[in-house]
Symmetry: C2
């Protein structure tokens, strides 16, 4: 008889770790005086409470549209929302005609883009497979990979996106070690990346697709780019960049994830994806098993926000607001952080990225982190954003600083406290 | 070099079949004149459009509650909704005091109960594991099992619930074959079951928990009961039955799934679950990876519906409405179905179950199904609701008839058409 276990948990459940962020949230809850520059929350003041009220009121005023909002829909999502979203992404990319890459027919609506990331991983990856990620990358996605027993390999990040020379080197090394067949996709947070704020330029997107393509033959199957555009519409400076869907000849290898959680109604949790076949069909079936489809009420809300022009008007408010909060954080950093700390200033999104000198450790076990906590200020330690990748040492001297959720006063005070702690540690 | 594949899909994706129901939905869309007695939709007329409008208006009138509704929440869900839901289930079960089984601390809010079923399966089952199901059972759950490579074993169903003698025989057989260690849970749709309308009495719930318990030692790990109470509050005749949470001494083995999609706002897709440890922690972490948590806007809507008394008032409307529609279907069946067809009349829920004589095949490939389609009426063939289980022949002479989505006129006309087809086939 087999060993008696105290649980019946699956391999997936045993691999699924407590997310780092939940530890940070617990720390925050335990200290009401704490200023959190860690949470990835959006700005409360700029949430579209009035817009949503008007839109829902209109939607529920008529029995016909009201009943439709409160009934089941289809698994892939509301036709109007799919059409409006597809048109929007195409327009932002400046693409003309009716290119297949932007067809609403290859779009699925999801519970935030997070659910799309999860389902794409389910659809493409078996335990033991490999996903290439930016080094550092979005830590929740690392959690998804770990949960599925998928290995992450980090690719160096430069200020304008992935280091393509390193990407080629990583792929060559995997080819030599016979592991290339396990590589299923490259995950890229392409706009104002979480955690670094880096945006990948279009030239690099096109080049990395060409590079992945060269390795498909030895891999023995398609290798996808999963482009996560969560922060795209939170730009407050500089020019927009096209998505990888605009790279001619590669649209059958691009999976695009997007969301309305960041630019509009965070709590509505409506996201979307463009997927080529056979990934589209696989993900739609998986979505059917997850939940049949995202709440129709929320989908119709978003369709009306887009169709009425309220979304676009609100976006200007949001962008101006984050521009302001980023300025507040920049000034505070300039005033309070010691010299020798390198701060990456973003042109959109929610995050500054700070790199400490002399490899001063910033992880949860570090003196710095503990001192910050004692002074009631919280940041996301950079180490949480690096994959477990045995081919390099995990950096541990960085911090993600968010200006999304904190008030202006708390940004100023939080950076001041953190600056004082840093000055003390760096003496 | 390994075989070159044309895809990079995972084993899960390759196992995930097109859901039977999507085929039925396509059939319906292709024939606008079709009367569908197949869809599991709820009754459009009784959707709480007015209630939801008032509740959302109130919620979004104040900036404080409005911002909270449009912000991220916690992964396990809104505290008020968890508390109100836990209290409600406890009150319905007539349980006194503060029993741990009904603690809001072991509750998670999900995107419909469907998402809970999915995550529980992820948390407990590896490919090759076994789940016991009613024979027949909810076909979407069979799809989840197939997707995860989990084998389903059917347990005979009687008019008052599972056949316990057969359950024991199935467990004994699995023990003898050395497969008991692969058995993780028994899935039970306990109220007005989908597809048969059968309700499992409390005595059987307690007895089956005791029976599962006897097999834990040879299994080598806990064996759970996953009780799906989706239709509980759609009762329109007879007395309510307690959930398995009320079975003293077994609460650490009961996973309870519930939903507000059926009794209230279908399109809001808010469900819930009670889970014992370590399943609660595993599922919460998995939920964090899926989507961080269900839409706060929808959760606060449901909390207000419950707290304001609107939910309870609406429930009476819904119950009266389904009682009426069930009567309409019963009368139509009596008037139009030939003798020899055995119809199981429910006391709640959305479904009649009809068993044809002489094993007249009713499956999608059958003459009967094709003739019904030609006469523009659609039902769910019973065969779709049976697991692939090599230990018995799959029945193929039954049909699920739903009075949930169809109008009264369509129920009458649909049953009339189906009756005519049956009379012709049964001559």
């Amino acid at each position: 008889m087999a060993e008696v276990k105290t649980h019946a948990l699956s391999a997936l459940a045993r691999r699924t770790a407590d997310p780092a962020i939940s530890w940070l949230m617990h720390a925050a809850l335990a200290r009401p005086q704490l200023i959190s520059l860690a949470a990835g929350f959006t700005d409360n003041k700029s949430l579209p409470v009035g817009d949503v009220r008007v839109l829902l009121n209109d939607l529920l005023r008529s029995l016909r549209t009201g009943q439709s909002a409160l009934q089941y829909g289809t698994t892939f999502g509301d036709p109007a929302l799919r059409r409006l979203t597809a048109q929007r992404v195409q327009r932002l990319d400046g693409a003309r005609g009716q290119p297949k890459a932007y067809s609403p027919e290859r779009m699925i609506i999801t519970s935030g883009s997070q659910q799309l990331l999860y389902m794409v991983t389910e659809a493409l990856c078996d335990a033991g497979d490999i996903v290439l990620v930016e080094d550092p990358t979005y830590f929740v996605y690392l959690g998804i990979l770990q949960s599925h027993g998928v290995r992450a390999r980090g690719v160096r990040l430069e200020r304008d996106g992935l280091d393509l020379t390193h990407l080629r080197a990583v792929l060559e090394r995997l080819k030599r070690s016979g592991e290339l067949q396990r590589v299923k996709l490259l995950y890229l947070v392409s706009y104002f990346q979480n955690p670094t704020g880096v945006t990948t330029c279009f030239t690099k997107k096109r080049a990395l697709l060409a590079l992945l393509n060269q390795f498909e033959c030895p891999a023995g199957h398609p290798v996808y780019l999963l482009e996560d555009t969560a922060y795209r519409e939170l730009r407050f400076a500089g020019e927009d960049v096209k998505t990888a869907l605009a790279a001619k000849g590669f649209s059958e290898r691009v999976i695009l994830a997007g969301t309305y959680s960041k630019p509009f109604a965070t709590g509505a949790r409506v996201g979307f994806g463009f997927l080529p076949e056979p990934v589209f069909t696989a993900v739609t079936r998986i979505k059917g098993n997850h939940d049949f489809g995202t709440s129709n009420l929320l989908q119709l809300l978003l369709a009306r926000a887009l169709g009425s022009g309220r979304y676009d008007r609100h976006l200007q408010v949001v962008q101006a607001r984050y521009a302001h909060k980023a300025r507040v954080m920049r000034r505070a950093l300039a005033a309070h952080f010691p010299e020798g700390v390198e701060c990456w200033e973003p042109t959109g999104g929610l995050y500054f990225w700070a790199r400490l000198p002399g490899r001063l450790p910033s992880g949860t076990a570090s003196k710095l982190f503990q001192a910050a906590l004692a002074h009631n200020v919280l940041y996301v330690p950079g180490e949480l954003c690096y994959a477990h990748d045995s081919t390099r040492r995990k950096p541990n001297h960085e911090m993600r600083l968010s200006f999304g959720g904190a008030t202006e006063a708390n940004i100023r005070e939080g950076i001041k406290r953190l600056g004082a702690v840093l000055r003390e540690m760096m003496v």
